[in-house]
């Protein structure tokens, strides 16, 4: 069970998809106008991520390498459609608030990224919890961004009035520019904490930050090895050898 816990911590903190990997920026910037929208988007994505990770992991030895991306997309799209119909039926307010961004979960790069980098190379249980961990990290980040934006832009938190009556809401924060302001500030705080940790002599090399996915110009050459469980990969390699 150690690897389950490790996967959860990895998704939530070490490789937080939003603050560390900088993935899935489109829903992050677009739907976080309030804390509840951010949480809703995050949990919806988590469900899809966990289920598609588990399914892709199950089918990882059947899917041919050359057509794996279309195969992943078909699996992901099926789960997104299920979740979309469920949301429309049971939580119509959230469905209306998230709008086009629910079907767009299909092309969310966190989901495809985890399918490609982890689920297609690892057993089912770790893949499932990798999806849960990443989804929790995404939900956490989106809720944080949504909460800050809602607090400054509307003076409320989860719809409850918290600021004093004399507070004049700064409505730019619930519009598009506010998303960039808040995301940049929270990422800066995250980096500040990381640098302070490095100074104390902790090993922070496993925490990537602000990865612009520009691998060509990145000095962090070893990062690829951190995307999946190396031991599991070795086992798979051995299996392939024996198959030959």
């Amino acid at each position: 069970m150690n690897s389950v816990k490790e996967r959860l911590v990895n998704g939530l903190i070490k490789e937080n998809p939003t603050f560390v990997l900088m993935l899935g920026m489109c829903p992050t910037l677009a739907v976080t106008t309030s804390a509840i929208n951010g949480l809703g988007m995050g949990l919806t994505t988590m469900v899809v991520l966990a289920l598609s990770n588990a399914f892709i992991s199950l089918l990882r030895n059947i899917i041919p390498g050359k057509v794996r991306i279309p195969a992943f997309i078909v699996i992901i799209a099926s789960f997104v459609t299920i979740v979309e119909l469920l949301l429309e039926g049971f939580i119509p307010t959230l469905y209306d608030a998230l709008g086009i961004y629910i079907p767009l979960i299909v092309v969310n790069c966190i989901i495809l990224g985890r399918a490609e980098a982890y689920a297609s190379k690892n057993p089912v249980i770790p893949s499932l919890f990798d999806g849960v961990g990443m989804g929790l990290g995404f939900s956490f980040a989106l809720t944080c961004i949504g909460a800050v934006r809602e607090l400054i832009g509307a003076g409320t938190l989860f719809g409850i009035h918290v600021m004093p009556d004399s507070y004049v809401p700064c409505s730019i924060f619930i519009m598009a520019p506010g998303a960039f302001f808040v995301l940049a500030s929270l990422t800066a705080i995250q980096n500040k904490i990381k640098i302070a940790g490095e100074k104390k002599g902790k090993d922070m090399s496993k925490i990537q930050s602000g990865c612009g996915s520009d691998c060509m110009n990145c000095s962090d050459m070893g990062c690829k090895n951190r995307f999946y469980d190396e031991k599991a990969q070795d086992k798979k390699g051995e299996e392939e050898k024996t198959n030959d």
């Binding site: 004049v168 700064c170 409505s171 730019i172 924060f173 519009m175 520019p177």
Partner: protein, 310 residues
């Protein structure tokens, strides 16, 4: 880098101009408009100007102290930003509007991009647009003790007649510094005579704006309509003091004409076809964003390069 290192091939032009002397000239040139604003709108305007300027200067000082950088408040650029921002606020705006705007102008628009010379848009205008979007009702409420009702431009848009003499003198509702055309032109003349700015950008801006509204304004070459558009709103303040900002204007000569014409057309589009009566701030900010492209397109050929092939 020491000054001795900055050597280019001769001939050299010698000048005593420095950042602080230029910025000081701009501050002096803004004083007539600020003075008239205080005379026109009273103590509220004075308090707002003082608060905003103090905020911008303090923000720059504190940021540079905290970041361990050289303190550059001595170059007066923060004072210019604060003063310009204050002149763009409605007179009855609460004091904290000046504080929020001042902090945003210096911290976000200027210092986070690397300080003076690195900011890609005019800090005062960036802050004004931030405030306009965030606190729309406060920023568009021009009621004060002396005047109530719409600004001349809003009245013009609604099809009402306006008193052009009052608009030229400045006895109308509006932001603190924009109402008096005379005071702004006095300051602009000072800047032109001291060589701080030239007429390339303001001239092409105003001329292209006049041409645009005479074609699309729906009044043809109606003198009173055109002069009301010129004297009303922030056009004069924007054309002479904000479009000419050294950091955010193109440096090529041809580019400055292109920039001025672009601003004139954008302002015309926003005023005639837009939802709100005023569009100078947004026009200049969009112009600022296009400056790198304009410079790239209008880069002059080096001597001996290009030209007709033999």
């Amino acid at each position: 880098m020491s000054d001795l290192m900055k050597v280019s091939s001769n001939p050299h032009i010698r000048s005593k101009a420095s950042t602080s002397s230029i910025m000081l000239a701009v501050v002096i040139a803004l004083l007539p408009a600020a003075g008239f604003g205080i005379y026109n709108f009273g103590l509220d305007a004075l308090i707002l100007i003082v608060v905003t300027v103090l905020t911008t200067v303090l923000t720059e000082y504190i940021f540079e102290k905290l970041m361990g950088k050289k303190v550059t408040i001595g170059d007066y650029s923060a004072v210019v930003t604060g003063l310009l921002l204050a002149l763009n606020l409605p007179p009855k705006a609460p004091w904290w509007i000046g504080v929020v705007g001042g902090v945003f102008a210096i911290l976000v628009v200027k210092m986070l991009f690397g300080g003076l010379g690195q900011n890609f848009m005019n800090p005062a205008l960036g802050a004004r647009c931030f405030l306009l979007i965030s606190f729309t009702s406060i920023m568009t409420n021009f009621d004060c003790d002396a005047y109530t009702g719409a600004t001349p431009l809003a009245a013009l848009k609604a099809g009402e007649s306006v008193n052009i003499f009052n608009m030229v003198v400045g006895k109308t509702a509006g932001t603190i510094g924009e109402t008096s055309m005379i005071a702004i032109v006095i300051g602009a003349c000072f800047l032109i005579l001291t060589g701080v700015i030239d007429l390339r950008i303001p001239g092409s801006y105003i001329v292209s704006f006049v041409i645009f509204i005479s074609i699309f304004g729906g009044h043809g070459l109606d003198f009173s309509f055109i002069s009301a558009h010129l004297a009303g709103g922030g056009l004069m303040l924007g054309a002479f003091f904000m479009a000419t900002d050294y950091v955010t204007r193109p440096i090529t000569m041809k580019g400055q004409y292109v920039y001025g014409i672009l601003l004139g057309i954008l302002t015309g589009i926003f005023r005639i076809f837009g939802a709100s009566a005023e569009g100078v701030s947004y026009a200049i900010i969009i112009g600022n964003l296009l400056v790198p492209l304009i410079e790239k397109a209008t880069l002059p050929k080096a001597f001996g390069k290009g030209g007709a092939k033999a």
